[in-house]
Every structure is written in structure tokens, then in C-alpha cells.
Symmetry: D2
Subunit: 342 residues, 4 copies
């Protein structure tokens, strides 16, 4: 940390500042310069960083010289994290494909779709039991019954499952019935929920908040990691944009940025990222080419009857074709693209 002093600092203010640095367990090395005196502060900066030093009388500027140390950073861990969900592995160079309906609507609908996504080559089954809906008057999911249908579909097809949780009081039921728990975009900063999931040790699929920077997102992951749960998969699903052409603005560069900052796996959700079925295949393929560890897609046997997100669901046949494309692109990626630049 570098503190630039105000030329008008009084000797008392200067002494108080040095005391403060020392009280925080750090050392300051003073150097005169044309910008005013500089204090180069070293040691364990944790305590000092939490203080509003810029407001202390006599301080003109505070400059960070080291990045905040976090469990999600490449400084902490260089090898990629691989998260195991049942027998499926996410991260570390492979491509994990996830498909299924937005919402679990009935045993019949879920099972038919589960079989179809399995036949298409998906690795995991998604399905919402607790549905966040903008309007309180929309269908809000089957709740615990939906979780049980997911468990049954998993037993039947052998596909591990992922489903969203919104309320810390539902964590236990989710953890018992599904293999991976999703935190949706609206709850990325639901810190009590994140802590609860951190304590569960269960795999967590953490979607990016709609107005979250990549740093905000990694700090949300940190809430889970800090509880001792390393099983976090990040999911880019678009941020709020100004163009109504798409439901969200899918930020595929985030995949590449994350590779330079974190060891956690990153998957992409082109369904919420675009909001329109016809835009899902090109964006899913682009996600694979950008280096994503996986793709999660909404699939419905008959989109025109879906109770939520009907416009962005693929039919099973379209999903099957897309899975083929993605596997092919991933094989090209694997053999021909040097990993160093991604």
C-alpha cells in the first residue's frame, strides 16, 4: 500500500497516521518525492485495508500495490478446480453439457425430457422446483414435490441433477434431493444463502448477478469458499443491457477474463443469456469456442405449453443437434488451440 501525504500535513497528523499504521501491525517507509511524501506500507494489510484511510487528515491518496488475496484467485491455487457432481466432472479441460426444463411441471414432463436430454448426450439434468418469478401471480414451481420428481428422474436415467434454491430454509431439502444446487442471478448476493451452502459442502452452481462485475461475482464465490466448500462452478448468464433485442447481454468475454483470475470452472447459459430459442445454438457454440467448461440449456418437450420461459426453450431434437455441434467444436478446441492464450 502506498499513501501519498498532503504537503500541508501537520507533524501531529503525520505522527497519528504512523501510529495508526503501527497499531495495525504494519511498517511504513517514508520517501520524499515531487508528489509529496510517500509512505510505502508493508506487512499484513488486512486490518488497514478495512479502514477509511483516505478520510484521515493529511492523506491525499491511497494506492493498492497488491491485489486482495482471495481463495478463488490464481495466486491462491494455480491448477484448475474440478467439481464432481455425482460421477460427472466439471472443469479441467472437458465439456459438460446440462439440459432440462426451466421448471419441473409434472412427473411425466420431467421424465420425458430427462430421457430426451440423456439421449442427446447431456451429462446433467436441470429443472426448477423453486422458481423465482418477477410477478407474484406467475407459476412459482412445485417446491419440495418438484425436488422429489428430480430425484426420481435421476434414479431412472442415471443423470445427476441441478436445481435452484432461493431460501436458506430450503437448503437442506435441496441438498438431500439434488446433486448440485444453483444460486440464481437474483440471489448472487443473498449472503445468508451462500453461507448456508458453503456449510453444506454440496456442489454449487453460482450464476452471475445481473449487474455484477466479475470482481463482485468472485467475492460471492468467496462466501461459499470461505466456509470450506471448494465445489463452486461459475455460470455466465448475461448482464442487464440496454437493447431489448435480447433478454440479457451475454458477456462471453467473462469466460476468458475468469481464466486469467480464477481456478474455478465456468459454464455458460445461452438460454437466459439471449431469451430466444433461435439465438441459443449460435451462442452455445460461441461459448464452447470461447473456452467454457460447459453449457446449460433449457429444453422442453413442447415449448408452446411451457409454464415459464417458453420462448427460450429448445425442442429435444434441436438440443441433440446442438450437443453434436458443441462436442465437435470442443474436440477442435482441444486438439488445435494452444491452452496458453485462453
Amino acid at each position: 500500500m502506498l499513501i501519498v501525504l498532503d504537503p500541508a500535513i501537520t507533524p501531529e497528523q503525520r505522527a497519528q497516521l504512523l501510529d495508526r499504521v503501527q497499531a495495525a501491525g504494519c511498517q511504513a517507509q517514508a520517501t520524499p518525492s515531487a508528489y509529496g511524501e510517500l509512505l510505502i506500507v508493508e506487512g499484513d494489510l488486512d486490518v488497514l485495508k478495512r479502514q477509511p484511510l483516505r478520510l484521515v487528515p493529511g492523506v491525499r491518496k491511497v494506492v493498492a500495490l497488491s491485489s486482495t488475496y482471495t481463495l478463488s484467485s490464481l495466486e491462491h491455487q494455480q491448477e484448475p478446480t474440478v467439481v464432481k457432481v455425482g460421477r460427472v466432472r466439471i472443469g479441467g479441460g472437458g465439456l459438460t453439457l446440462i439440459g432440462g426444463p426451466c421448471a419441473v411441471e409434472s412427473a411425466d414432463q420431467l421424465l420425458e425430457t430427462a430421457r430426451a436430454v440423456k439421449a442427446a448426450g447431456a451429462d446433467l439434468l436441470r429443472g426448477g422446483a423453486y422458481k423465482p418469478r418477477t410477478s407474484p401471480y406467475s407459476f412459482r414451481g412445485l417446491g419440495i414435490d418438484g425436488l422429489r420428481l428430480l430425484r426420481d428422474a435421476s434414479l431412472e436415467t442415471g443423470l445427476p441433477t441441478v436445481s435452484e434454491v432461493m431460501d436458506p430454509r430450503h437448503v437442506e431439502a435441496c441438498v438431500t434431493n439434488v446433486d448440485m444446487v444453483q444460486v440464481g442471478t437474483r440471489n448472487m448476493n443473498n449472503f445468508d444463502l451462500l453461507i448456508e451452502l458453503g456449510q453444506s459442502g454440496h456442489p454449487v452452481l453460482l450464476k452471475r448477478g445481473r449487474s455484477a462485475t466479475i470482481t463482485d461475482w468472485l467475492m460471492a464465490a468467496e462466501y461459499v469458499l470461505a466456509q470450506g466448500n471448494p465445489n463452486v462452478v461459475l455460470c455466465e448468464r448475461g448482464v442487464r443491457g440496454f437493447d431489448p433485442s435480447t433478454r440479457n447481454l451475454l458477456d462471453l468475454a467473462a469466460v476468458a477474463v475468469l481464466r486469467t483470475r480464477t481456478h474455478l470452472p465456468v459454464i455458460v447459459d445461452p438460454s437466459h443469456g439471449t431469451g430466444h430459442a433461435q439465438l441459443v445454438p449460435p451462442m452455445a457454440r460461441a461459448a464452447v469456442a470461447a473456452g467454457a467448461d460447459g453449457v446449460i440449456v433449457e429444453v422442453h418437450r413442447r415449448p408452446e405449453e411451457a409454464l415459464s420461459d417458453a420462448e427460450q426453450a429448445l425442442r429435444p431434437e434441436a438440443f441433440r443437434d446442438l450437443c453434436e455441434d458443441m462436442r465437435l467444436l470442443a474436440s477442435v478446441r482441444k486438439s488445435d488451440i494452444p491452452s496458453s492464450d485462453a
Copy 2:
């Protein structure tokens, strides 16, 4: 609702569509036009609106002709809602001023600040017991102890209190100890929390989500109202902007837009809305001139020692001057500005 049919619709598709409309309890009136046949659909549209009609074969376009009916709308209630918090009234033409620290840090700090904001002319005391923090390593509030300190400060000063809740499991403790419960920007779409607060009947201060449209925000209020709790106050606190000059982009026009759409009171938070103490007074004054029902400001006895949001806190003297300005502007507003255009 208007449905524009595809010229290539088959008789079977047309018949199925009409059955669907009828099954939903509505009537369709068919009219030929140069755009293709038009169906003007009337009746109770609730069921039909939840269906993905645009995906039904033979349908080219679906146009809404009436706005979604909601409890927060002016169609539902024309006279302004007045929310009572203890003996204080928010809404209906007055100006309610709220001040206090970002976080409750100690009995001493809270009480000293509470006395100062009361002396400055504030109507309510704010203070955070559960603090949402981007980093899990930041100070996260005193929890239940903080709530008790708020109750004590309220007894001592006579000021009603407002404090944030993030976890549905904390609602009971909050409702017991503080007079108004705040839902923060990160939890605007924490639907389980909103329902819990709706059932409590307690006054709710609902902050706008950082990437929420005004419609999204009113639908969040609807979650509380739909549980039978009419005591909702909206709080504009800025949305995510692209200019790092300010912490958020304060959308004062939202105050004027809300006047055209809802009967609920609206207050403004210039502290989070700007993030810098020196920008708080001009934006607080602008909020009053824009017609806000109140203003909520962070005040700390010594900002340079604050454990959170230090850079945006006003000192008690600055808050006192600001309260005078705001009262004066409100009096001008009241006597000289016709209410019709605001």
C-alpha cells in the same frame, strides 16, 4: 389482448386457438385486416396471459391492450398511500427525513448519532444490524445485538427506527425490535423474504434493485402487497452505471415516473446513490425538488472511523444544515408548485 394471425394458419390451428381462448374463459372477436385476421380477445385475461401464445402455430403477434392489473397501480387506488411508522407518516405530501449510521457499531456510537440526527430534525433513525457486504471478510454487523441497540436508542430518543433484513429467518427478530424493515437493493428479488415481510404486516422500506426497471420494482412491491400488507415505501438508491465517478447512478426521474404509476410513497437515498459525502447535499435537495416523500441519509459522528461506507457519511453538522435546506425547499414546493404536473 390482440392476436394477429398468420395468413398461413390452417383451419385446424385456428379452431385450436379459439378453443384455447374459450378454455381460458375469454371471448375472441375476429376481424379481417390487411395485417392478417385479428382476434380481439376480451374477458378475464389472467389465465391466457400466462400462456406462451406467441409460440402457438398460426399466431404471428400478440399485443397487450390493457396494462397488467396490480395492487400498486393507480388504476387500483388513486389516493396516495400513507405509511405510518410509529407516530411518523410517510407519503401524502409531507417530507420525512431519515438519518443515522450505515452500521450500528456500538451503543455509544448509535446513541450519540441518534441524538444528533434528532436534534437536526430527522423523523426516523436508520442503522444496520445485518450488513450485506461484497466481501465475506468485511464487517458484517452486530446482528441481534444491533437490533437491541436500535430499540434502546429509539426508547431513549423517541425516534422510530428502520433497519435492513436479508434472511427470512431474521424477520421475526427485526419486526420485534425495529419499526420499519428495509429490504436492500441486493434482496429486491428475494421473493421468500418479501413474502415473509408481507405476512408480517410490518412497514417495509423496499429499495430498488441495482438493475431493476421501475416495472420490476413495482412487481417486487406486489409480492408484499399481495400478502395483505399495504405498508410499502419505495426507495430510489441508484442503478448500476458505467461512470466510476459515482458509486451508483441516482435515477431521480424514477420519482416522477412512479407518481404516474403508483400510489405508494417514494423516498430517495442520496448516500448510496452517489457514494461521496460531498455529493449528498445537492442530490438530497434535488430529490426534494423532484417531489420525493422523504430522504434517507447516512450520518456518522466521525466518518474517518466508520466501519462501513465511510466515504459517503455526513457529519452531524452537515446533516443539520442539509435538513434545514430540505425543509425550506419542501415548503417552497408545497406552496408554489402545482401538484398536478408532478
Copy 3:
């Protein structure tokens, strides 16, 4: 066009409105409904659309039933436009690769880079002679001398060239010396410039404005097309985002959206779209997988000496590897991905 009348409309107001419709050369068909009387207006709506009908007394709502007819739309032309730049074709299924320095700095620098990008497999050479710079104190390009160096480099290497123009007074010099003229993001709405380029008939590379919706962008293209110049190539280069991790927020879904709306070719600029050299290869590959007709990349022989945009320039060797990747991905795309869903 559908006009919903206010139930309180007076007979005089209704008569005046019908006169207005007729005076604009259209016909109105009146239909009673539960929403108030509906007027279905048919005929050539051009005149009527320019009028503020919503403000006419007695009108409650105006709903468009047909999209604005434009020369860029798929309604106007279904087969893809192919723009010829020298002997190079952009659009229609191939992949056009463009490389070169941000700014032309010297004969030597340009020629060395031109040879390198040609060797790497690029089809066109880019280079800025007139540089838009945020600060008036930055290097602003060599102007007409830069254009002449581009012409020389083109003669030497055989690569057609593209360079930016900002001032209508420079159009003639640009058109004389380079094969394609670029309109930068800051000038997307410089309408006088667009008209001048439209009249030139020269190929135009039209970058997306930093806060332009796709509709805004297509309307800018329309300014060129409406002058009788069909040679417009669109270039996605990112919009303003809120996360400082990247210089812009590259909107790759725009490529897929444009496929559903226009016959014009679309290329992608991952250099400005990300602002960091290490993010360029993954985003370039993603652009190809998303279906772009081409990619434009900044290449500098020694980025650490570049006079502008140094941080986003690739070295020639990295560009060569990337060209190989992109050609490979395009071949996969061509043979295996059904064109229908993109």
C-alpha cells in the same frame, strides 16, 4: 397500425382523427371492443408514422402492426449481401480476416506489418490514418500521408485496405486511396458523413455505436443504403458496459440477432471489444463459432512501442496462430452446422 380510442372521445375529435388518417392517404376500419373503439389503419403508413398521433385528443394508444420497412431488412432482400473489396468478398458464407496496426505510424512499420498479416493469411489490411482519440493531446494519426502509405502497402502486398474516416471533407481522399472506408463507433450517427459515403458508392465498414441498439445501428446503415450504396458491412465492436475488466462489452449475440433481421454481412472486432491482447484469441474464435462473416484484429510488430491501443494489439506470430484456429473453426462450422438455425 392500430389506434385505440379513448372512450371519452368527442364526435368532433373522432371526425378530425379520421380526416387526419384520410389526409395521410390511409383507410381506417372501426371496430368496437371492450378496450374502447379500435381503428385498424391500413395503406401507406409513411406519412402517418411521422405524426405524433398519441398526442392527438381522443387517442389512448397507438400500436404498430408492421415493422418499419427498410432497405437493410430481410423483408426487403432475403439473399445475403456480398460486399466486394478489391478481389475480396465479405459475406455469403465465407470468413474474411482483417489485420493490421491500429494506427499507421511509418512506412516501415506499416509495410512490415502488412507483410506479416499477409503471411498469416489475412485477406485485408487495416490501418488508421485519421485517429479518433479521447484526448486532444494524444497522437492523432498521419492523415493524408497515412492514406498514401496504405496505398503503397496495398500495391506492394496485394492486400486491399480499410481505414477510418471521421470528417466528410476527408471522404474523397479516403475513397481515392483505400478500398474500404470505416465509420468508427463515435461516428455511427454522424449522418452527414454517412450520406457522403452513401453517395461515394465505396464499400463502408460501419461499426456499432457504443450505446446503439441493433435497430439504431441498422438505421445508420440505412443512411448509406438510402443513397444508393449497397456496400455496407456491419462490425460489432462492443458496447459500453459497467465492468472495467474489459474495455467494452462485446455483444456476440448481436451477430445472431442480425442474421434474423438483415442481409448485410457482419464482422467482429475482438480487439476493441475486449481491450486486452490475451482476450482477443478466445473472443475471435467465439465470433467465428457464432457465425460472423469475418474478424478484424489489431496487429503490431512491437506492441510495447505502439502509439495507440498498445494493450490490445497482437504480435504477428499470435495473429498467425489465431488465423489458423479461425479457419479451422470456420471449416467445422461450414460442414457440420446447419445454416438454418444461425
Copy 4:
């Protein structure tokens, strides 16, 4: 400037870097630290700042210690700039009110509106002769004839005039006929136009670009100032937002931020800032309370007949009432609000 060296820097790299600093006419003072060796670089940094130092081998980080010196900054000039437009002064504590139609449509329309805005108490008359329109098929203004009508209306009423220019080739005609030349939001970065206006010496009303940060905006002003023309007035008119409730997102905090950074006057345009006539009065009042030096409002004698921006134009009577409100608020502001905190 502070350069943090990579611990792995070689002696040759270090020597080359020091040579580079010296060649740029600066001095470097080396200091060891726990972050690696630090070079504190002093002297005239202009040359060095233009170099991509971060890319030089052996450099880990470059930190600016002084802000970029600009003619618009408070470091350069502390007393507020007052721009004289005819006999009217903008800046320095007063409130300048500007009204008039979006577009000059006819002699009759302009003169009637000019008389009305004068009677309402406006100081300047606005009116567009060259209209930037998203669609090439919209009304694009009367051009030079419009400028002449403005000159006539000014002679008749005594009001100085302001009108937009978009093309450097029209600057001379504008400067001859109107008293202040406006640069619109789409042309904030039309650098050739800014330079031409800088050389004219004429008063310039510089609107904020739709996606411009405050720093971008001040750098655009710098283009005019650097040509020796100090007569620049900034105009906040809203940035691109994500909520369709308003046409733009009016950033009133920008007024307060600019007070902390520049001596140039700042006015606000609530007409484009909101896009709806009913939102204009509250936002105009808020602008005055926020400390703006003036407000510019679109006024049309019959908005329902306006050829552009009809929905945001005030009728003359509404403008008159608003002028009264604004003058009253400004008088309160003047007498009762300490200037120090704005």
C-alpha cells in the same frame, strides 16, 4: 508516476527502462520495497504518459500519482467560467433559462414560440435547423433557411439563439446566424467538428455523449479549449439506461460531480433527459436544486403537430409556470444554501 518493477527484471531491462525515462526528460528515483523495487518518476511526464510502459519487459505495474493536467480542470482555473452569449451570461451563480422548439418548422411557428418563451421569462431561444434523426426518412430540418429564421426571430424578440451543428462544413453558416452553437450527444466525439468550433471562438453548448463518462466529456471540451476558445457550456442530457420508462437516464449527480472538477458552467436538458412532457417540470426543478447554471427545455405551441420530439415538448403555458418555479427555487438556493458543499 510510480513504476513497480518485476522482481525478475534483468539488469539490461532495468537499464533500458531507465534510459527510456531519461530520454523522455524525466528523473527516476529507485526505492526497494516488499512489492519489488519502486521507481518514483518525476518531471514533465507528457511524453512518458503516451508510451505503453506497462508492456515494457520487467514492468509489473504503472500508477499515476498526478491527474492529467487539462484546461478544463479546477487545477488550471479556480474561478467559474462565465460564457457570454449576446448579452446573456451563463455560469457564475445565476440561472439561465433556454426554451424553444426542437426543430424550426416555419417562420410563423418559430416566431410565435419565440415570443411565448420570452414572455415566460426565458433568456435564450433554442431551435434546430440541422436535425440529427435516427431514421433517414424522418424530417431533418430546414438547414440554412432554418438558421436565417432563427436570426430573424432573434432580431424580432431580442433573445440570443442556440442551434445545433453536425457537419464541420456548416460551422461558418451557424456562427454567422446564431449566437451559440450546440454540439449534440451524437457528435460529442466528432473531433473535427470540435476543432472547427474551437477555432471559431464562438460560444459552444457541448452536450454529453450518451455513453460518455464525465472524464470523456471533459476531454471533448478540451478539444475546444485547446484551440483557444474558452466559451464552453456543458449540458447534461441523460445517458443510455436500461429502463424504457424514460428516453434517457438523466444523471443529475453529474452536475455536482462537475462542480468538483471543472470551472465550466453546466446546464441540464430535462426534455431529452426524460422524453416525456409530464416528467420535464419535476426534473427541471431538481436540476435547479442540484445547482445547475441553467436549464434548456423544448417548447412547442402545439406539441400534437410537432415534426420531431412531440412527446417531450411543453406547451408555452406549462413552460411559463415552470420558469416561475425555477426562478423561485434558484432564489432559495442562492440565499440559503452554502455554496461550499455544492
